[in-house]
């Protein structure tokens, strides 16, 4: 097991290393490594533009994937992720609200995204108890659809109200989800909270399995108590909101990566959490590298992950790899 994790880790480092030198300077596709010493412009480009962006992408992939894994475990629903539950849209609304009311100040965007993310998870928990179909999974998905629609229309209203010259472009651009404007100043402040969140979930990687147990069973085992569940969900929302506040709405990663990892490594957190983190990070780095190099301009990352995610989802479901069982 340790060996597999180590292998995945080196693979991730390798992908990140390659990505750093892929780009269109000085000529398309690859920047020779020696330019790091020989060319001041190349050095600045790699260290001040590509490197923060690379780190932002890796943290984004790891955070969204692990959050998806936690949501899926806590809701016993392989389709649960920030997008389907409405957490992404709620955090997005929170961020857009902050952009309009306080300008483009990063701390406010973050706090507002986090608060609305937490609100949405409570609403999902509440609504999925009120909605009464035969299936708890359908209840959750209904709740998620409703919440996501409410916050999406909220975003619509904000766009309508926004100053079309200043705020609107900011919001629209940011809603597409991309990392092209990432600088050290924007990514450095979020790194600690993301690393702390990830470390906590890593440390709890066996404990999180209790989330999937029957309520009375976990009670008898003294695990998966309400406050423990809420704490773990809070960390997952914190990670999602942190990422959304610097990258905008990047969907599908939290849905796809944990499902792929589960089919390969199994469901238990000891095996899945390390793999989810590293494969999620690697996947996001690859997607973002494609996003900035595939065409001379830039493809928003959120669009790329949605296309690839949808394809992967169709493949997984038609191969019978996502099993939904009540």
């Amino acid at each position: 097991m340790q060996k597999k994790n180590l292998l995945l880790f080196f693979l991730l480092i390798f992908i990140m290393g390659i990505s750093l030198f892929i780009g269109r300077y000085p000529q398309p596709i690859f920047t020779p490594v020696r330019l790091l010493w020989e060319d001041e412009l190349a050095k600045a480009l790699i260290l001040n533009i590509r490197l923060p962006r690379l780190i932002a992408a890796a943290l984004l992939g790891a955070s969204l994937s692990i959050s998806g894994y936690i949501f899926q475990m806590a809701f016993s629903n392989p389709l649960a992720d920030g997008g389907i539950l409405g957490v992404n849209q709620a955090a997005g609304f929170g961020a857009a609200l902050a952009i309009i009311t306080t300008g483009y100040t990063f701390v406010q965007i973050q706090i507002s995204a986090l608060l609305f993310g937490i609100l949405s998870i409570f609403l999902v928990l509440l609504l999925s108890r009120i909605i009464k179909t035969e299936s708890t999974i359908i209840n959750q998905i209904f709740a998620g659809i409703a919440i996501s629609a409410i916050f999406s229309s909220g975003i619509g209203i904000l766009k309508y109200m926004a100053d079309p010259l200043q705020e609107l472009p900011n919001i629209v651009f940011w809603l597409l989800g991309d990392l092209s404007s990432i600088t050290w100043e924007r990514i450095l402040p979020v790194i600690p909270q993301i690393l702390i969140g990830i470390s906590i979930l890593w440390a709890l990687r066996w404990r999180v399995n209790a989330l999937a147990l029957d309520e009375n069973v976990s009670f008898s085992l003294g695990a998966g108590k309400k406050r423990e569940t809420y704490f773990i969900l809070f960390i997952a929302v914190l990670l999602t909101a942190s990422v959304i506040s610097y990258a905008g709405l990047v969907g599908w990663i939290g849905l796809i990566i944990p499902n792929i990892v589960r089919t390969i490594f199994g469901t238990t957190g000891q095996k899945s959490i390390p793999a989810t983190l590293m494969i999620g990070a690697g996947y996001a780095v690859i997607c973002d590298t494609l996003a900035r190099t595939l065409i001379p301009g830039e493809i928003p990352l959120g669009i790329l992950t949605a296309i690839l995610g949808a394809i992967a989802m169709i493949v997984l479901v038609s191969a019978g790899k996502i099993r939904i069982k009540e």
């Binding site: 066996w206 399995n209 003294g222």
Partner: protein
């Protein structure tokens, strides 16, 4: 290690209902006993188990566990096997059985060598080694029931609460399961299990609690409680008792 379970005048009413689910239940069980709780659906059997589990708080009465060592309630572990369980999605049998070790593993810790040993030995005892790598979703009803009991035993509980453990099992599996429960008695544990079938109780229980509409019809040693009048009152139908090969067999109907 547990010495005794005392339940005094226990009453419980669900918040949304206007009549009591349980009324004045009193039990006294020492650690070499298997107690069968018998009654029709809705007689309060599951509610009683959940009260002993301390999942629900009784409005009246009390439950005491007495510890062998110091007569306190310290370190008494209660294991619970629900009748219907939302089995976790996608886990293998060995991973699921290991979850029984949660009370023994610290919050930020991983299961260690001893936890692995115990869950292996439980799996070995129940002879389900060949299922270890299988997913819970791929098991048959009888296999799943044994796996769930393995999870319960891996917890090393002092009190075992089993809700309809033999329900929906075929004859062979039912037989094996009752045998497993009977063997647990020798380990100084208290076992409470519910059942619809009085013959299960005769087979393995030392004590029987007959319940109807949340009240006790009769409680005591199996052979004294299992009488025609008590059983007819509990189940609301005519019941005959017959000796076949020195075993008492309970037959519903005229």
């Amino acid at each position: 290690m547990i010495k005794k379970l005392e339940i005094c005048d226990l009453s419980y009413r669900y918040a949304e209902e206007d009549h009591s689910a349980l009324q004045d239940i009193t039990l006294n069980v020492t650690n070499d006993n298997i107690v069968a709780i018998l009654g029709n659906n809705g007689s309060g059997k599951t509610t009683l188990l959940l009260l002993v589990l301390k999942k629900y708080i009784p409005q009246r009465g009390a439950i005491h566990f007495l510890n062998e060592k110091d007569g306190t309630e310290n370190e008494i572990r209660i294991g619970y096997l629900p009748q219907i369980e939302k089995t976790p999605y996608g886990f293998t049998v060995s991973e699921y059985v290991m979850m029984g070790r949660y009370p023994h593993v610290g919050w930020l810790n991983m299961p260690d060598e001893r936890d692995r040993e115990i869950s292996h030995s439980v799996i070995h005892e129940l002879q389900i080694e060949k299922l270890e790598k299988k997913h819970l979703g791929d098991l048959s009803g009888g296999e799943l029931q044994k796996v769930r009991i393995a999870r319960l035993l891996a917890q090393e509980p002092d009190i075992l609460l089993m809700d309809e453990p033999a329900n929906h099992l075929d004859l062979k599996n039912r037989r094996e399961l009752l045998e497993i429960i009977r063997n647990l008695k020798d380990e100084n544990k208290i076992i409470l299990f519910t059942t619809h079938d009085p013959n299960d109780a005769v087979e393995i229980a030392n004590q029987v609690l007959l319940m109807k509409d949340g009240c006790v019809v009769a409680y005591g040693q199996t052979h004294t409680v299992m009488r025609q009048d008590n059983l007819q009152k509990t189940f609301d139908i005519p019941i005959k008792l017959q000796k076949i090969n020195k075993k008492t067999v309970i037959i519903p109907g005229e």
